[in-house]
């Protein structure tokens, strides 16, 4: 270790100028070092050290910068906001507390075991087991280095779940992406990768890390919009299971600080601050970490064995900010005041070419930090060595109220924990939302009824609807043998499933238990462009509807939020964010589904060559999970046999704002779909119960592309025809023409297949919910739609519809030979 660089050698300008520096000089130092601190935060650091009458060390400023980063502290979500909506003005003290957290607190659901406090939200699974779920974003790394960024994104969220409570066994990975279309041919600024390259590399990264870790990647989605061309979004999630006795962690004075897993190197310096800043073409690839899945798998195997033997008291992952964040967070849990003393030179290094401050904030992958009671150390060491995992003792936790880090006896960091965790100044931001004026009257859609067939095929082939088989097949979505409702469904295992259902029998190890869980997602940035509040409501509605369709019990659902937004300093952007957060709160309260975890990624902006800032469309991902009390009652979306009744639940209104029909027809100004919370909850809960009672054969929710798109998907997935009579569709007065009825994207609607024997019991179970028998399944492999005037409006061959739906991604991305398979499914009809 003598060959190590000294701090002065690598820190560049010595930070000696802090106490005397003028604000401008501080700002210059900040820009040079990449701390991403704002003027107020720089001043707070200066004031703190002026009071101490000493200069801060480089490592101290680094620690504060990482801990105070938007990535770690969520400053925008927790700082005051002056929110103006129309004529009313409201002062929000903390957006997070007053929206998402408030909903959870009000709902007081008994299944919430640990929410908003740990690395993941933890809910009850059954009497013995708990379920941990976390969804992260990894946007900026994936923009500059998509394969490595996606890999470490997966690795990071898996470690979040390993570091939740005393550690959970990952049983499901989820992935949701937002990209520009892979066939995008417009201009791209320098330094921006083509979206096709980004997509294929991100999928490969998720695939290689998830597959090698042996975690099924079995639920997710992709949204395409050219506005993501500068700044793609990559959401990765992990669900894990842990014994309920392992939900709470603790740290006691005297516990050893033990780091285990990978060694520490210079990769991933400043990841937390990097991801909190705007992207530009100088974005550094060295800010992206380097992942190694097998190291993490070994760490996982060792950790779970040590957990089951009770060899540590607390654990957290080394993610953003590296040791500085992990040790800092764990230190805060120790005793009344918290504290830790670290001898950093005891860490295991990949290289000797590393400065002490770099070692402290490095985000090298596959590392976890443990609080190990002294008497357990030798057993701990034995378990980790047996799995071939290295570990080292970095120091001790204590109750001193201070975070102290030394390097061969020299003090590197000596920070007051109170200042570190609560010293970040809260700055009030401005936010404004103006409700758009109602659009002018548009021409009647009835005149375009002749285009319905073309519009249907266009919708099916649309990037936001088409088959995701190209992606899903590359993931090992059945490893662990628990994926009982798979992402691809139907006769030929290639239809679009709603929620995935996992039956973790091999992990839980209880024979005769059929309890499982479902995971569903909701996302629609197109609605968000019109009204972020409506978008938030529809995202929750969609995620829960997906769960309903697979047989989960949505009356016990939990939600996760992931906001990816643009520039929070722009009052209009922030206003949209506030409105989306309020939508999340109202939706959670309306459906009785608490939020258990969430994450926000702000500053998803790109400065172009002229210096103009572009924000991405405000994007909200809602992930939902709910128990499936008996996986044997789960259902899939494909029609099963001919001569069954087809029911439609929900009311169809003229809500085509942001819809696929608008994009097809070149219309604008439609009303964005809104959710009637009370009616939606009643419908979802009743249907969820009916499905779990075995009264429904197939279920699919109606989303982008409307009723006719959903019907087509159910029919071609099952190779069972369907006939639908528009006159019978329950509708509002404004849904008066066939085009509106077929393509409206009104929320909380479902199509269901019910056998004649079960019809009476089904109707009884659904009493009080708006629904109607709108048609039936037929032996002829076609989709038939009968118009309001009883004439046939559509008669489409299922093979052709399916081919249109399947062609898009393989054509854009290439998959040799897959067309042969399509030919097999699609021919002769």
């Amino acid at each position: 270790m003598n060959a190590m660089k000294t701090e002065a050698e690598t820190s560049g300008a010595a930070p000696a100028a802090w106490l005397a520096a003028a604000p401008r000089q501080l700002a210059e130092m900040n820009a040079r070092a990449g701390w991403s601190l704002d003027a107020g935060e720089l001043a707070a650091v200066q004031t703190h050290f002026r009071a101490l009458k000493r200069e801060p060390t480089r490592a101290e400023v680094e620690t504060l910068a990482q801990t105070w980063s938007e990535h770690c502290k969520h400053k925008t979500f927790t700082s005051p906001i002056l929110y103006r909506e129309g004529k009313s003005t409201k002062r929000i003290k903390s957006l997070l507390k007053e929206t998402i957290v408030e909903a959870t607190a009000k709902l007081k659901k008994p299944w919430c075991l640990s929410v908003f406090e740990d690395n993941a939200g933890i809910v009850a699974f059954d009497k013995k087991w708990a379920l941990a779920y976390k969804v992260e974003t990894h946007n900026h790394p994936c923009a500059v280095e998509p394969y490595g960024g996606a890999e470490t994104g997966v690795g990071g969220v898996v470690r979040d779940v390993l570091g939740a409570g005393l550690g959970a066994k990952p049983v499901l990975n989820t992935d949701v992406f937002c990209f520009a279309p892979p066939d995008y041919d417009g201009p791209l600024p320098s330094g921006t990768l083509h979206p096709k390259r980004t997509l294929t590399s991100v999928v490969a990264g998720v695939r290689d890390y998830g597959n090698r870790m042996g975690i099924p990647t079995a639920a997710g989605g992709v949204w395409f919009d050219a506005e993501y061309r500068h700044n793609p979004l990559v959401f990765v999630g992990t669900v894990g299971l842990l014994p309920r006795s392992a939900v709470k962690k603790s740290v006691k004075p005297g516990d050893l600080i033990v780091a285990a897993g990978g060694r520490t190197g210079r990769d991933g310096l400043h990841g937390a601050t990097f991801s909190s800043a705007a992207l530009d073409d100088s974005a550094s690839v060295s800010a992206v970490q380097i992942g190694h899945a097998i190291n993490e798998k070994k760490l996982l195997d060792a950790l779970l064995r040590a957990r089951d033997r009770g060899l540590y008291r607390g654990v957290t992952d080394c993610g953003a900010g590296g040791f500085s964040s992990a040790v800092g967070e764990m230190a805060a849990l120790c005793g009344a005041r918290g504290g830790a003393a670290v001898d950093l030179e005891k860490a295991l290094f990949k290289t000797t070419e590393i400065a002490p401050w770099e070692a402290w904030v490095s985000e090298s992958q596959e590392r976890m930090v443990f609080a190990v009671p002294k008497e357990k150390l030798s057993a701990f060491a034995e378990v980790f060595s047996a799995e071939g995992v290295e570990h080292c003792v970095l120091g001790e936790f204590n109750d001193s109220g201070r975070l102290k880090v030394a390097w061969t006896g020299t003090v590197l960091v000596d920070l007051d924990l109170e200042f570190l965790h609560h010293g970040v100044p809260r700055r009030e931001r401005q936010a404004v939302w103006e409700t758009p004026k109602p659009a002018a009257k548009r021409a009647s859609r009835a005149a375009r009824r002749g285009e319905a067939g073309a519009a249907l095929r266009w919708c099916l082939a649309h990037l936001n609807v088409c088959s995701r088989e190209w992606i899903i097949r590359q993931y090992d979505h059945e490893v662990q043998a628990g994926t009982v409702v798979k992402p691809l469904q139907g006769l030929h295992h290639d239809g679009p499933g709603d929620a995935t259902v996992i039956w973790p029998q091999a992990v839980v190890g209880e024979e005769g238990s059929y309890r499982g869980f479902g995971v569903g997602h909701g996302m629609n940035p197109s609605y968000g462009k019109l009204d972020p509040y409506a978008m938030a409501f529809s995202c929750v509605d969609e995620a829960l509807s997906n769960l309903v369709c697979s047989g989960a019990d949505v009356s016990q659902a939990s939600l996760l939020d992931n906001f990816c937004w643009g520039d929070p300093e722009d009052p209009k952007e922030l206003g949209r964010l506030v409105r989306a957060a309020i939508g999340c709160r109202d939706a959670a309260l309306a459906f009785g589904a608490p939020f258990i975890s969430g994450k926000d990624s702000l500053n998803n902006t790109y400065a172009d060559a002229k210096g103009a800032k572009h924000s991405i469309p405000g994007t909200l991902l809602i992930s939902a999970t709910a128990p499936v009390p008996d996986v044997r009652q789960a259902v899939t979306m494909d029609f099963k046999t001919a001569n069954n009744s087809v029911y439609m639940v929900g009311v169809t209104a003229d809500e085509l704002g942001g819809s696929l029909w608008e994009a097809f027809a070149g219309e604008t100004g439609g009303r964005v779909p809104e959710v009637d919370g009370k009616r939606a909850k009643a419908a979802l809960h009743a249907l969820s119960a009916a499905i779990r009672s075995g009264l429904v054969l197939s279920a699919h929710d109606i989303r982008e592309g409307g009723l006719v798109t959903a019907a087509a998907e159910m029919a071609f997935s099952g190779e069972v025809g369907v006939s639908i009579d528009l006159e019978r569709v329950p509708r509002a007065k404004d849904a008066a023409d066939p085009v509106t009825i077929l393509f409206s994207e009104s929320q909380s609607r479902f199509l269901l297949e019910v056998t004649p024997e079960k019809e009476k019991a089904f109707l009884k179970a659904m009493r009080g919910v708006t629904l109607a028998r709108v048609g039936q399944t037929i032996a002829n492999p076609i989709l038939r739609v009968v118009d309001l005037d009883s004439r046939t409006l559509l008669e489409e061959r299922l093979g052709e519809l399916k081919a249109a739906w399947q062609r898009t991604l393989p054509a854009a991305l290439g998959w040799p030979g897959l067309n042969g398979h399509n030919g097999h499914n699609g021919s002769s009809r």
């Binding site: 042996g214 091999a506 992990v507 190890g509 030979g817």
Partner: protein
């Protein structure tokens, strides 16, 4: 009745150990997960077990080729596995486990025990997970497929599953000794190319046995189809009572009992 002990061999990157153990447990065995280091060090004795399973995964990350490093460990430090097979006890290698058995020169069986085949990159050049149809060679001596129908379905999930041989003689030898246990076919039981043959395997080979029938290597995952709820069409089917994969484990357990 005493349950036969099943050694589930683990190492860094083993992924399918829990579900393989669960399958053996359902089949009446007593699975025991052991790290290869414990066997190499002598802490765990191979001959204390009635059955050995090498489960799927990415042993050592599949660096330098799928299964290669674990295969070398077996070849060099765990030689008694060959004696274990000679003793007639059941050994099964699934997916990565099959790759290990092939690269260790255990399958296909040759008198000298050299490697004469390999599992190479899929023709599609990427990892793929899908369900396949398989035709079982009922003329083979394999103890694992007793009582199974000729046509079954199982899932595959791999990037390196294309079975290739060193020379045409190897294929002739495999045919002659009835060692080709399963082949990829279509709904009609015929060879039909991609995606029915998901990786481009020579002669559509999905599984290989030793001539004596107690050592099986296969790319498909029988442990992922041990109940009817594992099948992708279980919500459509009313006829299948249980997963056909369970039969393979049951046959191994029953054999070990006798």
């Amino acid at each position: 009745m005493k349950k036969p002990k099943v050694l589930i061999l683990r190492t860094a990157g083993t992924n399918c150990d829990l579900e393989t153990a669960s399958a053996f447990k359902m089949a009446g065995g007593e699975p025991d997960l052991r790290h290869v280091r414990e066997l190499v060090s002598g802490k765990t004795k191979l001959f204390d077990y009635g059955i050995v399973a090498i489960p799927g995964g990415f042993s050592y990350g599949d660096d330098v080729g799928a299964g290669r490093i674990l295969a070398n460990e077996i070849r060099g430090q765990l030689r008694e596995l060959r004696g274990f097979i000679r003793s007639g006890r059941p050994v099964i290698g699934i997916c990565n486990g099959f790759q290990v058995l092939v690269k260790a020169g255990i399958l296909p069986h040759t008198p000298a025990g050299e490697q004469v085949a390999s599992l190479s990159f899929n023709d599609s050049n990427r990892f793929e997970a899908r369900w396949v149809r398989l035709r079982i060679n009922l003329q083979s001596q394999s103890l694992f497929v007793k009582g199974l129908p000729e046509m079954i379905e199982l899932p595959v999930a791999h990037g390196e599953g294309k079975f290739v041989v060193k020379s045409p003689k190897v294929l002739e030898m495999l045919k002659k000794t009835r060692s080709i246990l399963m082949q990829y076919v279509n709904e009609e039981g015929k060879f039909a190319g991609y995606p029915y043959n998901p990786n481009g395997s020579l002669f559509n080979i999905a599984a290989v046995t030793n001539p004596e029938g107690n050592c099986l290597g296969l790319m498909p995952h029988p442990e992922r189809y041990v109940t009817r709820w594992h099948h992708p069409n279980w919500t459509r089917q009313t006829f299948c009572k249980e997963g056909v994969g369970l039969e393979l484990f049951r046959n191994a357990v029953n054999h070990a009992l006798n």
